[in-house]
Symmetry: C2
Subunit: 409 residues, 2 copies
């Protein structure tokens, strides 16, 4: 908790518990320097790679692949103090605890923080971990610019974190990330721990409806071709679709605009953004198909023209069930209430799922609030998560026989 407090004092947002450490800013550099100092004080071997990811590994194990944990320490513009930071500092705490305890390991533990996880300054998000696992060429990543035209590679060099370690990096034996849930499920259902089974796939579709603008007083209902009505039907359909398909399907219309948007004018045009998410890609495709079918039907019935374009499409990530099971069993053995659950948000761990056995541990977020200075998790929950991370990492270092069927994903 002392380390969390000290790191949160860098870029602190006055009058709140939150902080602002956008990737590769001076505040991010100060945060990085502090965490690297702690890593060095523990005697860990520190590797900084060419995209600025920092990996600290227990010394004395030669080239044996580590069991890795970690997360990020960059934040959104007005962020909380736990998002990302918890996973890095709990990892550090676990390693310190193991080293002090004198436990003998057959492979090392490592803790990392990855560059620009939030994507709030340089898109896409989870950039550092993406490059680490070979998902994006290094040179392409270094050329990304922010909204002011500043180049990522230049900013990385400016703050002194353009390291020498190669990308892609060393493939870990396994990867586990501890993170706040950023959603309300654990709190609402009274669980202390989420054993995270994967990350939802995301489908964003922008739907444009063009009809016939008319006088709201003089146009009989049966002569209308009303994009406003169709937009509303789409929004209610998305709710009905998610309810009908059931969890883990979610669906949201958070953006809906009418033109000209006047009280007494039947709209000429409406633009609706549909956000569909599911942990199973086949199910997500099914939901997309149901939406497309509905759009055809409602366009025909109302006599409007509907066009769509994809704003984003990410396939779901499935975590390794053996790792998820270990987390679940260790939590239950420790007397913690635990449930399996998907992550609704993206995390560095989903990149590692491409190359090694991976899963995540969630602790509750008060009211589900995140990306906001009001973000909060109780100390007891933070401690329980860190202890579970400790036991999970320990078990994974000793667990050589359970990966026979592993193939990279």
């Amino acid at each position: 908790m002392a380390r969390i407090d000290e790191l949160a004092s860098i870029g602190a947002i006055e009058g709140t518990k939150g902080c602002a450490r956008l990737a590769l800013t001076d505040a991010d550099k100060a945060g990085r320097d502090l965490v690297v100092t702690w890593m060095r004080d523990l005697g860990l071997g520190i590797a900084i790679d060419r995209i600025g990811n920092v990996v600290a590994t227990m010394p004395g194990f030669g080239s044996v692949a580590p069991v890795m944990t970690g997360s990020h320490i960059d934040t959104v513009g007005t962020g909380g103090r736990y998002d990302g930071n918890l996973g890095v500092l709990a990892g550090l705490e676990v390693i310190e605890t193991v080293m002090r305890s004198g436990i003998e390991l057959t492979r090392p533990l490592a803790v990392a923080f990855f560059t620009d996880e939030e994507g709030a300054r340089f898109a896409p998000d989870m950039l550092g971990s993406l490059v680490y696992v070979g998902g994006m060429p290094l040179e392409e990543a270094l050329d990304i610019t922010d909204a002011d035209g500043l180049v990522l590679g230049d900013e990385l060099a400016r703050i002194g974190y353009a390291g020498a370690a190669p990308c892609p990096g060393v493939v870990p034996h396994a990867f586990v990330e501890l993170h706040i849930e950023q959603g309300p499920v654990l709190e609402a259902e009274g669980f202390a721990i989420g054993a995270v089974t994967g990350v939802q796939g995301i489908s964003w579709t922008e739907v444009t409806v063009v009809g016939q603008s008319n006088h709201a007083g003089t146009t009989p209902m049966e002569l209308r071709h009303d994009p406003g009505y169709v937009a509303a039907r789409i929004a209610t359909f998305v709710r009905e679709l998610a309810d009908d398909l059931g969890p883990p399907q979610v669906g949201t219309v958070g953006s809906l605009s009418l033109h000209p948007n006047l009280v007494n004018v039947v709209a000429a045009r409406a633009v609706v953004a549909v956000d569909l998410r599911n942990t199973d890609d086949a199910a997500l495709i099914h939901a997309e198909q149901r939406l497309a079918q509905f759009l055809d039907e409602v366009a025909g019935a109302e006599g409007v023209t509907i066009s769509t374009r994809s704003l984003a499409r990410f396939e779901p990530v499935t975590f390794d069930d053996r790792v998820v099971r270990i987390i679940h069993e260790l939590a239950a053995a420790a007397g913690l209430t635990v449930r399996r659950m998907p992550s609704g948000a993206g995390h560095d761990a989903q990149m590692f799922a491409r190359v090694c056995p991976t899963a995540m541990i969630f602790v509750p977020s008060e009211k589900g609030i995140s990306h906001n200075p009001a973000e909060h998790t109780d100390v007891d929950d933070l401690e329980a998560g860190a202890n579970l991370l400790l036991h999970t990492l320990l078990q994974l270092t000793g667990d050589e026989l359970s990966w026979p069927s592993l193939t990279p994903r």
Copy 2:
């Protein structure tokens, strides 16, 4: 048609058939001067009242109350050439025709144009006719300012139309206004003439929905309190309500805004404007009650807070059924297809309905377009409307016995 073309050349919008003659501007003055010249050329007695209404009456009838027709010659900022102008110039044509034919009348015909019917420069609309019938004190009307702070009374004097005739004005024996429909019904249903039975009442309600903003990915459906969904439910309910109640009930949501209006954020707040109209006030009140009941239900079911405020509320106007019947019968006798119908928009005639037997004649509007330079009505329809106005006014001058039950409304 020559007069319509000539009047439309004043304030003409280049490259279109439309014109711009906002009330009491130089263009309005030029239009007024032209029409007054025509009135004077016919030898009519011209009275300009203190709010700038101009009434031209056949001479030689002493103080016998006239059968009056008329409308307005001001336009919206980008208006058409028929809206208002048709009723004034057709009235002039009718009077010219009667005078040239040598028909002897027992009471005179009069044609008027009323100040600021559109309300596009000085609110409220139908201002001149409202003051004419005593619905607003003259001094209050003269003090109204436009968006630039210019005072109506000053502008009236500036263009030379602050007349001496008193307000309220002479109560006509009857009032009939010819106007384009400004809606699509006559064209869509293949009728040449609308015998207008009244003007719809209007109820505008602004509904504000406050819920819980959340992450669209991490918030399960059952934990949502989504103002965006509730706004969409309100919009679809308004359609269902209008369909359920049937004509003449109409209902529209043309304005709907979400906040923060982002793809991946369950909205925190939504604002929806509901436009309900009906020709029967009891029915309109019933529709308002059904809406209020629905708002209670949906707020409770979704766990959101709903507040409402009235943006506008006008009671319906019912025209005199005897005058409506005369219009209907004369149209049918002339071989014109005719239907009884309400007006969805406001007109000067609704003010006269307060003081004398009143109705309106509608001719079709192509595609229902009005308040737009593309406004169009075929010449044959204009001519049929003008001829029907002639016969209706003649019948009303001779029809002394049919008003026994008349009381001012």
